[in-house]
């Protein structure tokens, strides 16, 4: 007791708490100061670039985006005033998303469940995981030319536009949608698998103790508990599909309007050709054939709004899931 009092009152110079003089960057080595400065410049610079892109696109959107562009169909015209809007490309984007997601969800969820819950034999599981990793690493342009080779086979002729001479074109919504499912698959697989692996083991054990089989456990207990992970994965997949251009340019035929093939109403549309917002932007930019930069800007703004909306959805799902389960859906800081 007495020593403590002596320490508190009797020491001639009170001990300084907190950082000493080293805390001021002015006294650091010049290399450290340089690193500090560059780190601030890099971080703020990236934010500035993002802000510049957002502001510039916003400005162009206010300048060129008119409601009638959203509700009118594209026309073939030489002037920007007469070339119509982009109703068809928007419908094309939605249709392609629907096809791609419908094809990708069963495969992604099925393989994630198999990897996380069964995964035997181990070598087979490893093959499956690495082939999904390879698909994730393959450039979209390679996937697009693969789709072109695949759907030009006579076997797949019913799925695409066929020329009058019998030549298979290999370009249709089905062809593009099937390839889109490949680029949407990896994020969905990873989100679902990570979710399943993070489910605590006692949930499975409780289900087994109640006499449920493995597959019943998966369907009634595990899949419902990773619903938010799957939702985040699907949203990421959708944003990949919406943003992809190479597959659309090569596989969708590049007709400004949705052109049906054949007389069956639904199937004709799927077999037909069309365009999406991304290919519309590409074709109307100076890189494509139509020099209609105003239309390209307007469509690009709509595209950005779609992507922003999807980002917000992922954010929302992530936040609500982190609140209830204490873990993030997509994993990672960003």
């Amino acid at each position: 007791m007495s020593t403590l009092v002596a320490y508190e009152t009797g020491s001639p110079q009170p001990m300084r708490s907190g950082p000493g003089k080293r805390s001021s960057p002015l006294h650091w080595r010049w290399s450290d100061r340089l690193a500090l400065a560059f780190a601030w410049i890099a971080g703020l610079g990236l934010c500035a670039i993002a802000a510049a892109i957002a502001l510039y696109m916003g400005y162009r959107g206010i300048q060129y985006l008119r409601p009638n562009l959203l509700f009118s169909r594209p026309q073939v015209s030489l002037s920007q005033a007469g070339s119509g809007g982009f109703l068809d490309p928007m419908a094309g984007t939605l249709l392609l998303c629907a096809i791609g997601i419908t094809l990708a969800v069963p495969v992604a969820v099925g393989s994630a469940v198999w990897i996380a819950e069964y995964g035997r034999p181990a070598w087979l599981a490893r093959i499956v995981e690495s082939s999904i990793e390879i698909v994730a690493g393959t450039p979209d342009i390679v996937i697009a030319v693969f789709g072109l080779a695949l759907f030009q086979l006579p076997l797949f002729a019913p799925f695409s536009f066929t020329a009058s001479g019998g030549g298979v074109f290999g370009r249709s919504f089905i062809a593009a949608g099937a390839m889109m499912s490949l680029i949407a698959l990896p994020p969905m697989f990873v989100a679902t698998r990570d979710g399943l692996q993070a489910v605590p083991a006692h949930m499975r054990e409780a289900a087994f103790a109640l006499g449920k089989t493995r597959i019943a456990t998966i369907r009634r207990v595990l899949l419902p508990s990773v619903r938010s992970n799957m939702a985040a994965g699907v949203t990421l997949g959708v944003s990949r599909i919406i943003g992809d251009t190479a597959i659309v340019v090569l596989l969708l035929g590049g007709t400004p309007r949705l052109e049906s093939q054949g007389s069956v109403p639904g199937l004709g549309l799927l077999r037909g050709t069309g365009s999406t917002l991304t290919s519309y932007v590409y074709e109307n930019s100076p890189a494509g054939e139509g020099g209609a930069p105003q239309k390209a800007y307007a469509a690009a703004v709509v595209l950005m709004l779609f992507v922003l909306g999807l980002n917000l959805i992922v954010d929302r799902i992530g936040r609500s899931s982190a609140q209830t389960t204490g873990r993030t859906v997509t994993g990672g800081v960003l």
């Binding site: 393989s111 499956v128 390679v142 030319v145 072109l148 944003s239 190479a246 980002n311 990672g332």
Partner: protein, 327 residues
């Protein structure tokens, strides 16, 4: 049919069904390699390994391919793809090196330096950069950056100096590298940030207790511990940069020209084409078998590089797993 689905499945049948579904992706990967390789075979068979070399004008070689009919003679397959390979390598290398420096610095900024409020802004902003579609980057490049570079950055003297070989419009190597860097940096930041924040805090605190300043502790301890993740991020970004087709095709000037490093700074304004953007630029010519086979050969080369990078990424992540750091 529906009755069967509603009744509980036998476990072994469920396992086999799910296993078969999982194998589908493997089948697709094998099919992809086989299909692309079969289509690419004639191009390699007629040229041998000198296909990868340089020689002659690529533009002439490709236009003579487009001129051939349905049954091309063997001479129609003649091509020397070096300018495209060179263009791919130089854009990728420059963008990855630049992007690596920027992303390491901004990861330090996000994890260590930024005040909490600024970090709350920076993270969604960088995520936004990652999700902007490549065609939007290309549009901004071709309508904003290319005219700006063409009108204000390139001096008339530089245009005159190379006017006998190539015309400088502003579209070219420099703009392509800048936009590619902006596109791949967010991917690297995501991985590096995750690795930096998973290094135990006590390591850095220990260094600070020994009297070094926070930045030096970050550089000497945390960054060093996260080295494998930084390499893994660079590998992933390389894969992304190699395959970027649409944006490069829009802003690179689309000429089969190999930028000459001997031209000094002017090299940044010289047009080029990469393997991926060549596929986009020439895809309408797939009716000519020789050109089609050549385009598939480009795709095969890209697929092969993606394979190699995927294996490299796996090998790099092995030491990461040992430290239980997710990469």
């Amino acid at each position: 049919m529906l009755e069967g689905l509603r009744n509980p499945w036998p476990d072994h049948r469920a396992e086999r069904t799910l296993g078969a579904v999982s194998l589908l992706v493997g089948v697709v990967v094998v099919a992809m390699v086989v299909f692309v390789a079969i289509q690419a075979w004639p191009a390699f068979a007629h040229n041998g390994l000198s296909w990868l070399g340089s020689g002659g004008s690529l533009e002439q070689q490709i236009s003579s391919m487009q001129a051939t009919s349905v049954r091309p003679p063997a001479s129609a397959y003649h091509l020397r793809a070096w300018p495209l390979i060179y263009g791919t390598l130089i854009t990728t290398l420059a963008a990855v090196v630049l992007g690596l420096a920027i992303s390491v610095l901004s990861s330090i900024f996000i994890v260590e330096l930024a005040p909490a409020r600024l970090r709350g802004i920076a993270i969604p902003v960088i995520r936004l950069l990652a999700s902007v579609p490549s065609v939007v980057y290309g549009l901004i490049g071709i309508l904003v950056l290319v005219p700006f570079v063409g009108n204000h950055v390139i001096s008339p003297g530089e245009k005159v100096a190379v006017q006998n070989t190539v015309e400088l419009t502003g579209a070219g190597l420099g703009v392509a590298i800048v936009i590619l860097t902006v596109m791949i940096t967010p991917i690297m930041i995501a991985l590096i940030c995750e690795a930096l924040s998973s290094v135990p805090n006590s390591w850095r605190e220990g260094a600070i207790a020994l009297g070094v300043n926070p930045v030096r502790a970050m550089l000497a301890v945390t960054l060093r511990a996260a080295r494998p993740a930084i390499v893994a991020a660079a590998v992933l970004a390389t894969a992304r940069a190699l395959g970027e087709a649409i944006m490069i095709s829009m802003v690179s000037g689309s000429r089969d020209f190999a930028p000459r490093l001997g031209d000094g700074l002017t090299v940044l304004f010289e047009p080029l084409r990469t393997l991926a953007s060549a596929i986009v630029d020439y895809h309408e010519g797939v009716g000519a078998p020789a050109l089609k086979s050549t385009l598939y050969a480009f795709a095969l080369l890209l697929l092969f590089s993606a394979f190699v990078l995927s294996v490299a990424g796996y090998l790099i992540k092995l030491p990461l797993r040992r430290y239980q750091v997710r990469g």
